[in-house]
Symmetry: C2
Subunit: 324 residues, 2 copies
């Protein structure tokens, strides 16, 4: 079958036309992939910036497709374990080291497939799992967001960030975002955003605070120099939830601001099986539609990856593998 | 009456022999102070490193003494408010800007006095309130410490740190500490400590990890360069609770370590009325005795302060004001 394989650090990925999969384990089922979405994770793996990278593994964590006569999507988290608090040491994510979804077929444990919410098409369904799971856990399981609270989401055009914005609006929070482009600020208005700021402005944090005050919850994927600004933008007793670190390490973190104001800085990554089920319920209940930025055929995986790297995308970059 | 007043930044404190207090508010009662304890807070105020410092205010947050015929100790937190999560904006601490406890008498709201646990003498009782409240909230209300867990306390000779160690041991946790002196490492053995390390060793964190592994909960009062080491010493899903920042700002904080391991970095300061009540219950139930380093008369407040600043103290530095 056709599949996008991680080859090695020199060659990057290749498109294989006749990849032979091994046998299935007893608990595994075969899903015929209609659409699969890219994640930052795929980009990091191809840059060698991920632990435990192995050669000749099919990339891709997100997919929607057919299992028998059912439209299903896949929870990409394998062996999370029994704790809501943290994943087990056996936890891993579909698409490295386990074969992933940029492929005609994918094997997954039966417990990892769920019916596609009926209001979503293939591309939208493929755009949901990893980003939706991450967003749900960040906002609710970790951030304890309540209706009426004020939440700030950094990097408002990314896949996870957009789902955070949509989910937070859905439950009746006031939602604010930072983005790196004026065009994206405009597009965020379609999602009912309550305020935006361009993080390329030197004093974006002061501008934001002056216009909108402080926040009960901040969802961040950047780290770096921004974290100390986010600490200054958090209400006393408020939460900062970190799910990524694209800007690297953070300096100048003041213990005084953290302890006197009883702040909580919490990490989150992926989510439990329960988080995944609750995320799907929320998406169905509120008719949330993940934003698809663009769709490419498997043969144009390289272009899709360039689109993701460009940071010009707004929502998820999706690979279409089977039409129906 | 005699009292230690904060005078101003040039003069520091003075001992007044005939300080005239104003009238009491209807909800206030008069406590005759037998003993009062020093806190880092007093040192910071005298160095000008505290918000809202005003002149001619009696210093001191901790006291035990007589109210009518009752032996009482005082919760130094005023107007915490109704949230367990964070203090109200009206919150303040006895001893600045409200007149404090280094004085023959102190006025406090009646709801702030509690019976002295019967196993404590005056000095031990005076050593308990601020440090005990801070330690209790850090360990339990914030850190969610459970029996059998492993907790690391930094700066193991300080008043709050010692009470953390005692309380954590009392509920059946395994307790480890960093200290800056070999003498203190020895003394910590009397408290059943499970392991110690000298933080003046360059690679104390590696030494500690090699000997004792990682920790469910870390209680820190230093910040600075240590925080990134503490992050590396925390178990996946673990908590770091920060109640002080004597070493200043922290650099090199890795978002990846925080998010992938689902860590929680939480600030805490003082505690609610409920935290105070629960702290007293724990102290009574387990017969915990706060460690008194040394006792000085009011006339020797300067010497007491020097003792605190020396960092050679082990436990609380106490001022004795009335003998009985």
């Amino acid at each position: 079958m056709r599949a996008i394989l991680y080859k090695n650090q020199d060659q990057g990925f290749i498109l294989s036309d006749n990849f032979e999969r091994g046998d299935s384990r007893p608990d595994e089922i075969d899903v015929r992939v209609n659409a699969a979405a890219l994640n930052k994770r795929d980009e990091f793996i191809l840059q060698g910036m991920y632990p435990g990278i192995t050669e000749n593994v099919i990339l891709g964590s997100d997919a929607a497709g057919w299992w028998k006569d059912q439209r299903v999507l896949i929870n990409p988290g394998l062996q999370w374990g029994n704790s809501q608090r943290v994943q087990s040491s056996d936890f891993n994510i579909l698409g490295m080291p386990t074969h992933g979804t940029f492929s005609e077929w994918v094997k997954v444990p039966q417990q990892n497939v769920y019916p596609v919410p009926t209001h979503l098409d293939w591309e939208q369904a493929a755009a949901l799992p990893l980003a939706g799971l991450t967003a749900y856990r960040a906002l609710f399981a970790r951030g304890e967001l309540k209706p009426g609270q004020k939440v700030l989401v950094t990097g408002g055009g990314g896949g996870v960030a957009l789902l955070c914005i949509q989910m937070a609006k859905a439950i009746g929070a006031s939602v604010f975002a930072t983005t790196g482009s004026e065009e994206k600020r405009g597009r965020l208005k379609d999602f009912g955003i309550n305020g935006t700021v361009n993080y390329r402005e030197l004093e974006w944090d002061k501008e934001l605070k002056k216009a909108h005050g402080s926040f009960d919850l901040i969802i961040d994927s950047a780290g770096g120099d921004g974290l100390k600004k986010l600490i200054g933008l958090t209400k006393p007793g408020g939460n900062i939830v970190i799910y990524g670190g694209t800007k690297g390490k953070s300096d100048g973190i003041s213990p005084q601001l953290i302890f006197w104001r009883q702040l909580n800085i919490m990490g989150t990554s992926m989510g439990s099986d329960r988080d995944f089920r609750e995320m799907l319920e929320l998406v169905e209940q509120h008719g949330i539609v993940p934003v698809v930025d663009s769709v490419y055929p498997l043969e144009e995986f390289g272009r899709a990856l360039e689109r993701l790297k460009s940071k010009e995308h707004f929502g998820k970059v999706v690979i279409k593998i089977h039409e129906s």
